[in-house]
């Protein structure tokens, strides 16, 4: 009996090994991974291992097997994502020891272009701390307060209002590192309160669910553990817009590119993903008002609320914008300047220090 089991065992291992070898050779290879949002390794004699792992047969199934196993043995932090209650996947917050560079860049910028407004948006982990299965001090609130205390700008703190309004609607996607349109709305309201201007109420908007099939970037880190969710957009009736993607020479009449709803990264539908410079002209307004928003991708779902108040909304993404923002401000008669970043991504890419 034992001998037979031994033979079956050896046979089993051999079948798996040779099977995977064979399937690797004959299976078709993809260049791009939608799941991971990156190009897979190309064949390189010096890095065969990476090529093999990237193009391994049933790669995504193997990865979700690992994630599920870790989840079932009780892990709540997998690949830098906390598995929270209510199917929440919450990216960890990473501090950054170069934060003073950010302070310097913004203060210098504010010295030349006075009246700069700054809004650092907290990440899901701070607003959804109650969803974590273990109480952790993420230090994000301390970070934001530190930055605000060092800045000479007009700072808009949205932590409390986001925390207080998180019950009714999801202010952050469960499967993505971004905030939802609801989250962006709360921040917009807070911004306009701060500027003593009138803002629209939630009931003024036509809210449209554009997909219920969204699995965001956090879900990519823990494949196998996510459940799909909705994306909603907020629009006012009878708004006529002209959206100009300046560097791409592309003009449309919508803030959204619905083609992205057929792809993995559906959040990219807001403002057609990230562009160096976008100008949005609201044809219903003729008061000559101009606002500049300097933002990362969090701004993409925030801008739709702003365009209803200004004749021209200018949107700059410093990751791609090559020249001086100050020159742009001078040339375009801009009165309001808002810097809007979520903390985690601002810290991880640091493009904000290119501000000049």
């Amino acid at each position: 009996m034992k001998n037979i089991v031994d033979k079956i065992f050896v046979f089993g291992i051999a079948i798996i090994s040779f099977g995977l070898l064979l399937m690797f050779i004959i299976s078709s290879k993809n260049d791009f991974s939608e799941e991971e949002n990156r190009y897979l390794a190309t064949f390189d004699i010096n890095n065969i291992e990476e090529y093999i792992e990237d193009h391994f047969y049933m790669r995504n199934n193997f990865i979700s097997l690992k994630n599920k196993l870790e989840f079932y043995i009780g892990k709540t932090l997998i690949n830098d994502i906390y598995i929270g209650s209510d199917n929440y996947l919450i990216p960890i917050f990473k501090t950054n020891n170069k934060r003073d560079l950010i302070v310097d860049a913004i203060n210098k910028f504010n010295l030349i272009n006075s009246n700069v407004d700054v809004m650092f948006v907290p990440d899901s982990i701070l607003i959804n701390e109650d969803k974590l299965k273990f109480h952790l001090n993420t230090l994000e609130e301390e970070e934001i307060n530190y930055l605000y205390s060092k800045l000479n700008t007009n700072n808009i703190n949205v932590i409390n209002s986001l925390k207080n309004n998180n019950l009714e609607n999801n202010l952050y996607y469960r499967t993505d590192h971004h905030w939802t349109s609801y989250g962006a709305y709360i921040a917009y309201k807070e911004y306009f309160k701060n500027k003593n201007k009138n803002y629209y109420n939630l009931s003024d908007y036509k809210i449209t669910k554009v997909t219920d099939d969204f699995l965001g970037t956090s879900s990519s880190f823990v494949t196998g553990l996510a459940t799909k969710e909705d994306i909603n957009i907020f629009e006012l009736k009878d708004t006529s817009l002209e959206v100009n993607y300046v560097y791409e020479n592309k003009i449309t009449n919508s803030l959204y590119n619905f083609d992205y709803l057929n792809k993995k990264d559906k959040y990219a539908m807001f403002l057609d993903n990230n562009h160096a410079l976008i100008t949005i002209n609201n044809k219903n307004i003729n008061d000559g008002s101009n606002i500049l928003i300097i933002k990362n991708s969090y701004g993409n779902s925030f801008v739709p609320f702003i365009v209803n108040h200004y004749q021209n909304t200018h949107v700059i993404d410093l990751r791609y914008y090559p020249t001086s923002v100050t020159d742009y401000i001078k040339n375009n008669n801009i009165s309001d300047i808002l810097i809007l970043y979520n903390l985690n991504n601002m810290y991880s890419d640091m493009s904000i220090i290119k501000l000049k």
Binding site: V5, S17, L21, E36, E49, K66, G74, L136, T217
Partner: protein, 439 residues
């Protein structure tokens, strides 16, 4: 390629085994040599040229020495040449450190001295000699192996099914330990070392390091021994439950055994061992332990680490042994664990100031913090399994149930499942989603 890579497991090994067993046993050593050349060449042409040059020089050196009289003098010259080469590569940071040179230099030295002392006759067939030096089972991380121990195996590579099967299981056992346990401990350690805020977190950090180091290295040796069995070569064990010992001297007889034996055989005994005056004995021990420290790395912390063990072992031999003999076992265990954990500070932290900072952290600051409780809870299963792996329990259970057919069948099934899970863990290593679009 490392044993825990898919290149090795899915590509190299199956093809190698197939070809190896298809050949008649007379020629198998050639397949083994070709396989080893391919395996080592994969690590780069630079490494490959160096190992071959060193091997040729040693082969020709030993060959010539044995044609002439005055064997001893020339043998020592050749040994010195090997040591100097190793020292140059170790201490000149401008040149890349060749893969496995610490191990194959010691193999060469053992070969030269064993031939000189007539413990083994010199190998006329260069292919056998090259196979011994380049053998993929041990070339990168040991175990250190003497030619006399595997010569007979090498001349007759004929494992039966049972040998093959045991080898395969041992290889997989090592793979599970490495991929599922040791690497997870490694990730945990890296997280902890950068989040060290309380006394408990410092201690926890050291415990995790101790578990990781043992499971990582012993898993590698499991894989090497398993691979050896697959091709018909019997290696000596390199670990014998080192964390269960009751003194530091005993620990070093059970930890990295082949290295300890090398130093004993080729340094300690030739210096006179313990059959000399007390003072000379102390000096001999110090020399061995400074060399052991230097062998592990080229930074000052490894020297300190070696010295630390040298001093403790001297103290044990002179005074502590008498005290320890009168103490109950559990106190002896605590004594060993405390000494080992403290020693790992120097082993794991290469910067001296950082090590001092770590020691300060062990004795000051808050007692416990929230983060450490989170990581403890988060990794409780991993930690329990890791600790069990340090005990004889898994082996004892295996012995009890070996004759129960049903249990045997189920454990084999689990083993196959673990193989699949291990592959998923290896793939996850490169799984790196980008938050931003790939621009």
């Amino acid at each position: 390629m490392s044993f825990n890579s898919l290149t090795f497991l899915i590509f190299f090994l199956p093809v190698f085994i197939l070809v190896f067993y298809l050949f008649p046993k007379k020629y198998r050593y050639i397949i083994l040599l070709i396989g080893s050349l391919v395996f080592y060449l994969y690590s780069g042409l630079y490494n490959f040229i160096i190992i071959l040059s060193i091997a040729f020089i040693n082969y020709i050196g030993v060959f010539i020495i044995n044609k002439y009289k005055k064997k001893n003098v020339f043998s020592y010259v050749l040994v010195a040449l090997n040591i100097i080469t190793l020292l140059i590569f170790k201490y000149d940071n401008n040149i890349i450190f060749p893969l496995g040179i610490s191990f194959y230099t010691f193999n060469n030295i053992s070969y030269i001295i064993d031939v000189m002392k007539r413990k083994v006759s010199y190998e006329k067939n260069i292919l056998y000699y090259l196979t011994y030096i380049l053998l993929f089972c041990h070339v990168t991380m040991g175990p250190i192996v003497r030619y006399k121990d595997i010569k007979n195996n090498l001349l007759n590579l004929n494992p039966d099914f049972n040998g093959f099967h045991c080898g395969l299981k041992r290889l997989l056992w090592g793979l599970f330990k490495k991929v599922l346990i040791a690497d997870s401990l490694g990730i945990l350690y890296n997280t902890l070392i950068s989040n060290n805020t309380s006394i408990v977190s410092h201690i926890f950090c050291l415990i995790v390091f101790a578990l990781q180091l043992y499971i990582d290295f012993s898993s590698y040796c499991d894989m090497a021994i398993g691979l050896g069995k697959i091709v018909g070569i019997n290696y000596n064990e390199n670990f014998d439950y080192p964390y269960l010992v009751t003194s530091i001297s005993e620990f070093w007889r059970k930890w990295h055994i082949t290295l300890g034996n090398f130093f004993k055989e080729y340094v300690y005994f030739p210096l006179g061992g313990n059959r000399v005056s007390k003072f000379r004995h102390v000096i001999n021990l110090l020399i061995v332990w400074i060399l052991t420290g230097m062998w592990h790395g080229n930074t000052i912390n490894f020297l300190l680490w070696g010295l630390y063990y040298g001093i403790i072992i001297i103290l044990e031999k002179l005074v502590l042994k008498k005290v320890l003999d009168h103490l109950p076992n559990f106190i002896k265990h605590i004594y060993v664990i405390v000494i080992l954990l403290f020693g790992y500070i120097f082993f794991s932290i290469s910067d001296f100031n950082d090590a001092i900072l770590f020691i300060k952290g062990l004795f000051s600051g808050s007692f416990i913090d929230n983060t450490i409780i989170f990581y403890l809870k988060e990794n409780i299963v991993l930690l329990i399994i890791s600790i069990i792996l340090c005990f004889k329990l898994p082996n004892n259970i295996k012995k009890i149930y070996e004759n129960n057919n049903i249990v045997y069948f189920i454990t084999n099934l689990i083993c196959i499942l673990l193989y699949i899970i291990s592959i998923s863990y290896i793939i996850n290593g490169t799984y790196s989603p980008f938050l931003y679009n790939a621009f």
